[in-house]
Symmetry: C2
Subunit: 153 residues, 2 copies
Amino acid sequence: MADVLYFEDFPLGEVVEYGGVDVSAADIIAFAYEFDPQPFHTDEEAARAAMGGLIASGWHTSALLLRMNCEAFLMRAAILQETGLEEVRWQRPVRPGDRLHVRRQTLASRPREGRTSVGEIEFLYEVVNQSGVAAMIQRSVLLLKQRPQALSN
Amino acid sequence: MADVLYFEDFPLGEVVEYGGVDVSAADIIAFAYEFDPQPFHTDEEAARAAMGGLIASGWHTSALLLRMNCEAFLMRAAILQETGLEEVRWQRPVRPGDRLHVRRQTLASRPREGRTSVGEIEFLYEVVNQSGVAAMIQRSVLLLKQRPQALSN
């Protein structure tokens, strides 16, 4: 089993890149049929007129970011709480054939006031396509356990 | 075809309720397998120990909000842009058997500066369960076309 990741494992200013997911027209349409059935997400014909071709639901891109985060670190991080998101911006369309990865930066890292064993991390995520363009950014705050101290005596 | 909804159709302070979606354990697990495979979203056994039972991915709740918004108004609104989200809070767990609906409030409504035919609307969405508890809130800003004026002469 992989090592648990604690508060101390996400130092302030660190930038890491990970992930890699291919987005197909079938993926885009399947997600949109279930959750976001606007024609420029579900219908190539309508999308061509409105958007120059099919584009992914912004929420689909968000869900793909989540999956890449799970695989890269969330599944083994000592998370106490992910209370929400501070900001999401869909900056550029995601289209069939795009390959997306994640650039993650630690914007803030502070011990939680009044709780010595807990730390708060603020991440900025960018979902970057094969041309190096950030299609989406997201900021969110996680509460993590601090690494247990070895007893010294 | 239903009437198009313009900027003027979302007056400041208006509160409306709509939607109604049942969340099953199978739905929760299927979404989580694809996008958020943390054990308390995918495994009833593990979830019982960690969370008192299976809970939905917050992103699943977000996607269900999106679907209810599409059905209620997004599909026929004269939207120019949905640039992102200002805030998301997952406040209470969503569990199998829950029935969710939406309470939407218009927090701000202003003509877009320098663009007379465009207006900006800020919505607060609450995703409310069968006990009247808001499981999630979300704030977001939409740019909408203003209603075309009848020519007078």
